[in-house]
Symmetry: C2
């Protein structure tokens, strides 16, 4: 189990339930994600995430991980066929990536794009566009507040004729949590351990599978960056 | 002057003013735009926008125009150097584009991605990520309501330590208008005509220049689609 904390927020489960609703949301067609923060000069000089011999994946391995996970989460972990990195990633003098992006392609025509950056204002956005619905979340990874988190949802939107507004307008949804997402993550980890230690269970496959898929896509993006934006097939 | 109505909404000018603020917003680094609507079966069979001998640019010429214009507007109409279309655009049987996307690259490292679609729920999103600020608008082209329109803005966002929230959280801005954006557009057109007819003025260059730049980028995206996602240089 990796430490992707936001996946344990109850908001995440609620959003996934909505996206999976074939009537209200339809089929996912397009996903956009952007995760970034404005790293300090100290960070850019000293953090392990900018050192080639420490965390050599740079921003891609840090917040790019969340972009890729959020995209896979949105499509219920169906791997894309191909990824193509955007050209001209920003790298530091040691060659570590500070900002980059990519497009992901699925066999059925779904596409997703993401950008990640150490050089922009704080952003943790994911928007999912379905045939019937649209879901916006702008604080996915760390919610604006610890005990409640929002997202907005539009379903079967049309224009008020003669094109003077929308009906319905997107609705705001708020999901509360007594425990912070990080505590819920530790609780889940404890459950997994207890199941083995106290109940004679075997390791569960769900979390390792999700972690591996995220890494597989991340590695494909890195390979595409290294090969000057060549398309890279994602090896399932 | 083209009939891009949203450019005449007072919200648009207010947002542009904020994005141009070097302290509050910094330099634009990344832009995402998605414009789409779920076309009816009747539309997909009969509308001029799906007929190769009528409006052959399909969704790219319809709502893709707004994506491209919004991106150019966000960067004060500085043309990108290169565009690369996403692979696998959706086309109808006559070869007209129903859904597509592209990435735009500027000389200074700014990038923008957009998607446009006749096959998703209604969406008119633009998000602009700067070094100091982030601006979200989710109803750019036709605001949710006619007389007032919103956007959200975050500037110099940091985490509340120990990473339990954001400070400041994004703020909502509301811009009201007595006249709908379409009426303001006609008013501007009348002003341009009157300036020539009644005041002996010469045609103003501002609107034709913006229109032409939008078309130049749109043509480059179309050329990249036609050439299987080859990079196309944007001819200024």
């Amino acid at each position: 189990m990796d430490t992707t904390m936001w996946i344990h927020n109850p908001r995440t489960a609620k959003m996934r339930e909505i996206v999976a609703d074939k009537d209200a949301f339809g089929d996912v067609r397009v996903i956009h994600s952007m995760c970034g923060f404005r790293a300090s000069e100290y960070f850019l000089q000293n953090d392990i995430r900018v050192k080639p011999d420490l965390d050599a994946l740079g921003v891609l391995g840090d917040v790019g991980w969340y972009c890729i996970r959020s995209i896979l989460w949105a499509v219920d972990y169906e791997l894309p066929e191909t990824v193509i990195a955007q050209g001209h990633p920003v790298k530091n003098q040691a060659g570590v990536i500070l900002a980059c992006g990519a497009t992901l392609y699925w066999a059925d025509g779904k596409t997703a794009t993401f950008n990640c950056s150490f050089l922009t204002n704080l952003a943790f956005d994911v928007t999912i566009y379905g045939t019937n619905g649209t879901l916006h979340v702008t604080d996915l990874v760390i919610p604006y507040e610890e005990k409640s988190a929002e997202f907005s949802l539009a379903s079967k939107s049309t224009f008020v004729k003669p094109t003077i507004g929308w009906d319905p307008i997107p609705s705001k949804h708020i999901v509360t949590t007594d425990l912070p997402q990080e505590a819920l993550m530790v609780k889940e980890f404890s459950r997994l351990v207890q199941n083995i230690r106290d109940a004679g269970g075997r390791p569960e496959g769900k979390w390792p599978a999700i972690t591996r898929k995220t890494q597989v896509v991340l590695d494909a993006v890195k390979a595409s960056i290294d090969k000057g934006s060549e398309p890279i097939e994602v090896a399932g």
